[in-house]
């Protein structure tokens, strides 16, 4: 995949928004900025992105203690963010 390939990024409102509201404002901005930066010209060369082993077309971007689960549509050049999860959730359950 060429490194300069541009993707449009969309977020699933019902899954992402309620979680995002719980994050501090600066964290929200950092997460969204990092997603835009890392995924809009998705090269998959960043070590923070891995393809999930348990599902087809699901990838994970790591931003510090946060995990971003997304899928991509090559035809539409579109990335859909399905989940943003705080590491704390792994302990708070």
């Amino acid at each position: 995949m060429p490194r300069d390939t541009k993707y449009t990024i969309y977020y699933e409102k019902d899954r992402i928004l309620p979680k995002l509201r719980h994050f501090p404002k600066d964290v929200r901005e950092k997460i969204i900025q990092t997603i835009d930066k890392e995924l809009s010209s998705l090269s998959f060369l960043t070590r923070n992105v891995i393809k999930m082993k348990h599902a087809s077309n699901r990838y994970r971007l790591r931003i510090g203690d946060y995990r971003v689960i997304f899928s991509k549509n090559e035809k539409l050049k579109q990335i859909t963010i399905h989940q943003i999860s705080d590491r704390k959730e792994a302990y708070d359950k």
Binding site: E12, K13, R15, I32, H54, A55, R58, T80, R87
Partner: protein
């Protein structure tokens, strides 16, 4: 098995992780207790991996017995001999009998801690993945729309 079932089982692992982390940092930790927790957690994580494999139809990782990333249960049990009660006892044993330096012991402790962290990381990934399949996909927003809706 549904995603809800997987999430429910993951919660059991979460509670185990909550038990293990304070133990790692606790002074005078009971090593046999830690080993038991560790093995229990391993079994549950492996069980979840198998369940996830069956529901999502992809290959399950770390099931290869030759995988060098995995610490075998036998090796863990060897290291956590039941006759040794605490880390300080292990330290003495290593110093006196094996002539292994404190650095080696702390290195092992460091590696174990990292191994547990890795397990929690994998669990976090699996949890986020399972949640990403829950429910129906809804309305899509751009970054600006999302930040605006979140109150920016």
């Amino acid at each position: 098995m549904t995603c809800d079932d997987i999430l429910e089982r993951m919660e059991a692992v979460d509670s185990l992780a909550k038990d293990i982390y304070p133990l790692i940092f606790k002074k005078g930790i009971d090593v046999a207790d830690l080993a038991a927790h560790f093995l229990d957690m391993r079994k549950k994580v492996n069980s979840i991996r198998r369940s996830t494999k069956s529901i999502m139809g992809s290959k399950c990782f770390h099931e290869d017995p030759a995988c060098i990333e995995c610490i075998s249960d036998e090796k863990v049990l060897d290291l956590f001999s039941s006759s040794i009660a605490t880390f300080s006892d292990i330290q003495k044993t290593l110093d006196q009998e094996c002539r292994i330096s404190k650095i080696a012991f702390f290195l092992y402790k460091f590696l174990l801690k990292n191994r547990l962290k890795k397990l929690v990381d994998e669990q976090h990934d699996a949890l986020a993945l399972a949640e990403s399949f829950k429910g129906e996909p809804g309305e899509l927003l751009t970054s600006e729309q999302l930040l605006h809706a979140a109150g920016h």
